[in-house]
Chain length 208, copies 2
């Protein structure tokens, strides 16, 4: 959760997202970013510092085209996905880290090969096919999220008859996270195992 907190706080800034967007295209030095984004170099440096501190970007030194001093180029260095679902009966924020990522090798100067147009065309087609599949998954996921939402809506309505606040919390976790053992629920709610078990048992007995 701490990791998710950090990454969300870094990427919530729109300028930092625009910097990352530029860097995934190719490594940039600060002056380039400043021109590209239309903001001061000072602001660019400030954001790059934050991004670097959290491991989202790294840098290497490269000789200047104009024979000037070496300059620092920045490139993206983390690989993750964050998914946040918010709805009246559902909330989850999830971080998926991809750590096996190999960083691309940088260094300008490849020769244009003869099949360039063909290669671009092929990549574009593959890209289109993946986008279509991602879109399909998105639809499927939306459908499931709506179903889960309506299940938790029903669960919440069912629970209105439970008088004890703590018990409702336990029951919510019990339905919402069916993969959790009672001891997991206890940990998630920072209460002792016995309290969870006792509460559920007592309640079932008193009404059952």
């Amino acid at each position: 959760m701490a990791e998710l907190d950090k990454l969300l706080s870094v990427i919530e800034n729109p300028t930092r997202r625009r910097i990352l967007e530029a860097l995934v295209r190719e490594p940039h030095y600060p002056l380039q970013l400043s021109k590209e984004l239309g903001i001061s170099q000072q602001a660019v440096m400030k954001h790059l510092k934050v991004l670097e501190a959290y491991g989202l970007v790294r840098s290497y030194r490269e000789e200047s085209d104009l024979g000037g001093p070496m300059r620092k180029k920045f490139y993206p260095a983390l690989n993750f996905t964050i998914v946040v679902d918010v709805s009246p009966n559902l909330f989850s924020a999830e971080l998926i880290s991809r750590r096996d990522n190999v960083l691309p090798e940088y260094g300008r100067g490849a020769e244009r090969d003869d099949d360039f147009e063909e290669n671009v065309k092929a990549l574009r087609q593959k890209s289109a096919s993946i986008d279509a599949q991602l879109e399909e998954l998105r639809h499927q996921r939306e459908k499931l999220i709506r179903e889960k939402e309506s299940i938790m809506d029903e669960a919440n309505r069912l629970m209105t008859c439970m008088e004890d606040y703590q018990l409702r919390r336990i029951m919510y976790e019990f339905i919402s996270h069916p993969e959790m053992e009672l001891s997991d629920i206890a940990r998630a709610l920072s209460i002792r195992d016995e309290v969870v078990i006792h509460a559920l048992k007592e309640w079932l007995r008193s009404k059952g």
Copy 2:
């Protein structure tokens, strides 16, 4: 994009996320949240104000259990998903808004029905089935994101032979967003249509 900016800035705060987590279980009044989260009522109020300003929560008035003054209960009022993908060759931040959402009706006091245990069990099973399907979609999506990442890695390598920065930007969009027309690319990059078309044509001619 403005909407995504706002929502990300609201939910990047961990305390606000914890408040939302509590509210999806049931409406809370500020004192309850303060106890539940172990933070001051003042801090709770401050965060609720932000959440309310951005439409993530609303409130209604309810009579106090103890015959005290009416108190304000807060409940979640927006329905959306945010997905952010960050990798060395890929960046996207997407907001999916669900606007057709019907807010649950609040008001304590339902009777416990006889099938309560059965109902809880059934909801828990449905919930487990949906979680399993979501997990499966997550795996499929991870696979696609890795494929897209490697396609864009190849695209970036291919583009190192292009000398013009602007042209590389255009080509990146051309491969990364195959659904985009050239005029969409021009708009996305804030350059004129003619410039995009001219740049691509010139470049293809000079080498082809």
